[in-house]
Each structure stands twice: as C-alpha cells, then as structure tokens.
C-alpha cells in the first residue's frame, strides 16, 4: 500500500510535469496560449496518477512501470527539444 502510494506521489509529479511539458512543446507557440490551463491541469493529472497507482499489483510494479513511463517521457521531451535546435 505504502509503496504504491509513494510511487504515485513521487513519480507521479515528474510524469505529470513532463507530460504537460511535452503537450505544450508540441502545440503552436510552444504552448504559450494555454500556460494557465496547463498549470491548472497539473493538479488533476498528478492526483489521477496517484489514484491510478493503487491499481498496480504491488509497490515494486508501480515503481517499475511509473519509472519506465518517466524515462519515456523524458526521452521524448529531450527529442522534441533537440529538434528545435536542429536545422
């Protein structure tokens, strides 16, 4: 229980943050038109990940899956940013 709870809180934060950053990076003007909406959406998103992490079979699985999701989000975000500085 506590393992899944901590995974949701600690890994849910960067996962929600990077998901939003990714969505903004892919929208026109790098999301400048909906910064406030994104900030408001952050809390429901984080809470959603926290609640969903109780659906995992065990704490270890929650850490593993959410950890991989974080890594994927990070890689995608870096990829999008590299494409900005490219040709």
């Amino acid at each position: 229980m506590i393992g899944r709870c901590l995974a949701g809180v600690l890994l849910g934060f960067p996962l929600s943050a990077m998901t939003l950053a990714l969505a903004m990076a892919l929208s026109p003007a790098r999301g400048a038109g909906w910064v406030i909406a994104a900030l408001i959406a952050f809390f429901p998103l984080w809470t959603g990940v926290m609640a969903a992490s109780y659906l995992f079979r065990s704490g270890a699985r929650a850490w593993l899956v959410l950890g991989l999701a974080n890594a994927a989000a990070f890689a995608l975000l870096q990829g999008v940013r590299l494409s900005w500085s490219g040709p």
Binding site: A17, G33, T47, L77
Partner: protein
C-alpha cells in the same frame, strides 16, 4: 472492478478523508462566510459609523505616499476598499523581493498586515491558512491534495451503485445507512463544486512552490517568463527618463470604467490600481475591477498615465484565453461571478461541504461501533471527541471573533489580537471541554454555546444600528449589514435545533454508542473512561 481494488480505494478514501477532514471543515465553514467578504467588511465599518473624520482623496494619498517613498515610483499600487465600506485605501509596493504595505495613517512605516483588525480578512486567513502565515498556507495546499485524492477514491467506490442509490435516503432502523446516504448524495451532487475547490485550492496554496518545481523538472527554466507573459495586462514599456504630469487617479478610474463597460460587461468596480513609472512620460496605469455576470470576473484596463489613452483591455469578452482562464479560476473559487444568487448558492454548498466532512468522521466512528456493548472502543470515542471539539470549536471561535470585533472596536487593545485571542481561545476551550466532560453532555453544551455566541453579536449589532437605520434613508450598505445579522440569527437557530436533536439522541437513541447520554448508573461514575 475487483473486490480487492475496491477495498484499497475504500482505505484510501477513509484515511485521506479523515486526515484532511478536520482542516477542510474549518476551510469550508470559514469559506462559506468568506463568500460574503465584502458584506462582513461593511458590517464592521458601515458608512454611518465612520463619517467623523474627513475622507482623504485618493490622489492626496498617492502624493503623500510618493513624498515619503520616492523610490517606489517605478512600481507601486493603490488597494481600494470594498465598495460600501468606510475604510481608507492603502498602498502596496515591492522592494528587495518583498511585498511592502503602508496605511494612510502611517505612510512612513511599512507593515506586513495593512488590514490588521479587519474581521473579513481574518476569516479569510482562517479559510486559506487557518490564520497561520506561510506554514498554514502550505499545510492547506497539502490538505487540498488529500481532498482531491479522497474525491477520486470516493467516486470510484460509489461508482457501482451510484445512479441506483443516488437519491435513496433510507431512514429507519439502520442509522448508519441514513448517514451514509446523506454523505453520498451531498458528495455526489456537489461533486463539480468540490472538484473546483480541490484543484483551485491546491493551486492557490502551493502555486509558488509548484511553479518552481515544475520549472526545474520539466521546463528548463522557461516557465516563470511564460507565466508572466500569460497574465500580463499591460504592454512592457521602459521609463523615458523624462518627467510629465499624470492624470488625476479619479479621472483614470473613470476612463478605465468607461472602457471596461464598452466591452459589454454590465459593471466594473475597481479594487486595485497599479502604477508603473509614475510621473514619467511612459507611465502606465492598470486598473483592476470586478465585473459580475461574466466568468472572467476580475478584469484589467491599462491606460497611458498622461493622456489616459487605453493601451490594453482585459475585461469580459476582451480577454485572452490565458487571462480569462486565470480570472475564471478565482471567480469559480470565490463565487463572485453571478451576484447574490450565486453567493447564496456558494454559501449553502460551503456549509453542505462542512457537513460532508463532519458526516464522514461520524461514519468512521459508526462503522467501528460495538453494537452489543455499552463500552465503546477508545479510538472511536476519541475520534468522536476530536470531531466535535474541532468542528464546533471552529464555529464557536469564528462567532467569538465577530463578538470581539464588535466589543473591541475603538478600545486600547489592538483589534487583531482580540480577534485572534477570541477565535483560538474559544477553539481551545471547545477542545478541552469535549475531552473532560461526557461526550453527549459536551456536544449539547457546545452547540448551545455556538448558538448563543452567534446570536449575541447579531443582536448587539442590530441594537446599535437601529437608531441610524430609522433616521437615515436605506442604502445597499444597510442591506449588507442587516443580511449579516439575520444570517447570524439563522445560524444561531440551526445550532439550537442541533443541540435539541443531540439531546434527544442522547436520551432516546441506541445506548450502545459514544453519543448516548450517561444517566444510567453503571457509566455515570466513570463517564470519561467508559463513554
């Protein structure tokens, strides 16, 4: 959904609810009153009681302020009092990364509490931070997050029987069933309202912290600039370094109002005026005001300081997406978008929210009740005591702050100290009383005390206002003050009714409960041990 998953969410709902419930009760009870923030301010400072000293013009206040703080000229603001009150405006300016305030009677001394002694602001502080600066705000931010989690898990566990059982209110032999039904129907029907608070509450309390963290984690340092651009209401303009005369502030306010009304909103009540580079050829003046019957209630008109030419309008339909979302977030949180009707709706929903958290704790106690024994487990007894002590203590404390305001006005003691002492003192008395007396007796006495404490300031206020009201013509301020007093009397009646109901429950209800009276001989000797 699997039974095990449902049980997990039940556990999450119970514990997040119990942890956050106490704080949320205070936030919702004080929040329901905060809906009428302006009316409570008028109640404290009605125009007919403060006309003794001549009112200083806004322009003269600004001139005196700039004579004392010439360095603030580049960036400062004038905070206007709520309309209908007789309070003076006060000054705000940032310096060295901190916020400074100065009131009209002591411009040379900066203060961090320009509205100290304002009852409406004290109740607002109780609502958003339990009245504890900084730490209280972060605490309430965490509470908002727990509240969000409790809402999500609550929906999940009630989802299977949601539609079927929504309006089922089953009175009868099983009282727990009735309480559960009441908890569910209020929780589900006011769910949109609660979701607004869980999200906006967390955002408002944790904003600085979360913005900094998000910026580091995912935005490579770009977020603060993006945010500042998203909420900017005036074009960036450098100082010209060349002096030029400013339009008087009242003329600027009139122009701003005219431009705001031209967008189609039906009113615009200025509450804040911000000046950039005052007295410079490139001075910019931003007037913020409240418009009703639009979701983006707080709008801003930016004007040129010399000509009064309009630079940007962010009001009602003329808002950008970012600006209108930002403004609607406040409107939805404070219920300031639809006049009196919406205010009363928010007041009712706020009190219903307080009931939701109270009933949640009662359900926790009721599910752990031993049905065949007079003696109840210690933890349920203490949960019952804590629930009653904290919830009724908050009601008692807030009513005591009204009384302290009324009795302490114009005396030697600082009013804010009196209000704090009354509110926290009564809260402590309530928590102590409920721990040393048999629970059923304590509940009845505390409810009677709440009733008396709420009725007293209302009656005293009606008595002292009766004279001026009869002699002078009726205005909006009269209605506001009368409304506050009548609401106080109504709440006093509700407390009285609750006191009678709990006395009846103690007498006639199931004796195998912490709520039963202890008139029977076997428990009367050790009430605090056996409950």
């Amino acid at each position: 959904m699997k039974a095990a998953t449902l049980r997990t969410f039940q556990l999450v709902h119970t514990w997040t609810g119990v942890m956050a419930g106490f704080f949320l009760f205070v936030a919702f009870y004080a929040g329901a009153l905060t809906v009428f923030h302006g009316d409570i301010a008028t109640w404290q400072h009605p125009p007919w009681r403060s006309a003794a000293s001549p009112v200083e013009s806004r322009q003269s206040l600004i001139d005196r302020f700039l004579a004392v703080h010439p360095e603030a000229r580049a960036d400062f603001g004038l905070v206007l009092p709520p309309p209908g009150t007789a309070q003076p405006p006060y000054m705000y300016w940032p310096a060295d990364g901190e916020e400074h305030f100065a009131t009209a009677d002591a411009l040379e001394r900066d203060t961090d509490a320009p509205t100290a002694g304002s009852l409406a602001d004290f109740i607002y502080a109780l609502h958003d931070s339990l009245g504890i600066p900084v730490v209280g705000l972060y605490l309430m931010g965490l509470v908002s997050m727990l509240y969000g989690l409790a809402l999500v898990s609550g929906i999940v566990i009630h989802l299977p029987g949601l539609v079927k059982g929504l309006f089922a209110l089953r009175p009868g032999h099983n009282l727990k069933r009735l309480w559960l039904d009441a908890h569910n129907v209020i929780g589900v029907l006011s769910l949109p309202f609660h979701m607004i608070f869980a999200v906006t509450g967390a955002l408002m309390c944790l904003f600085t912290l979360v913005l900094a963290l998000l910026n580091t984690v995912a935005f490579e340092g770009a977020l603060p600039t993006m945010f500042a651009q998203a909420i900017a209401t005036a074009p960036p303009r450098e100082a010209a370094g060349e002096a030029a005369p400013m339009l008087p502030v009242d003329a600027l306010l009139t122009r701003a109002r005219a431009h705001a009304l031209a967008t189609g909103v039906d009113e615009f009540e200025p509450d804040y005026v911000h000046f950039s580079n005052y007295g410079d050829r490139h001075a910019v003046v931003e007037v913020r005001g409240l418009s009703q019957r639009t979701l983006a209630t707080y709008g801003t008109v930016a004007l040129d300081g010399q000509s009064g030419r309009v630079l940007q309008v962010h009001v009602g339909p003329a808002y950008s997406a970012n600006g209108s979302i930002n403004s609607s977030m406040y409107a939805l949180h404070f219920g300031s978008f639809g006049g009196r009707a919406v205010q009363w709706m928010y007041f009712g929903l706020g009190l219903a929210g307080a009931f939701l958290f109270y009933s949640g704790n009662l359900l926790w106690v009721e599910s752990r009740r031993k049905r065949r024994h007079r003696d109840q487990p210690r933890r349920t007894l203490w949960m019952g005591r804590a629930t009653v002590g904290v919830c009724l203590g908050s009601c008692l404390g807030i009513s005591a702050a009204f009384l302290a305001t009324l009795l302490g006005e114009g005396r030697a003691w600082p009013l804010d100290t009196l209000q704090r002492a009354a509110a926290y003192g009564m809260f402590a008395v309530s928590c102590t009383y409920v721990s040393i007396r048999p629970l059923a007796t304590a509940v009845r006495h505390l409810l009677l005390a709440c009733s008396a404490m709420t009725a007293l300031p209302a009656l005293l206020d009606l008595a002292r206002n009766a004279g001026p009201w009869v002699r002078n013509p009726w205005t909006g301020a009269h209605g506001a003050v009368l409304g506050v007093d009548l609401t106080g009397l109504l709440l006093a009646l509700v407390f009285l009714w609750l006191a009678r109901a709990s006395a009846r429950r103690a007498r006639e209800g199931d004796p195998n409960s912490i709520w039963a009276g202890c008139e029977t001989p076997d428990t009367a000797q050790h009430p605090s041990v056996h409950g």
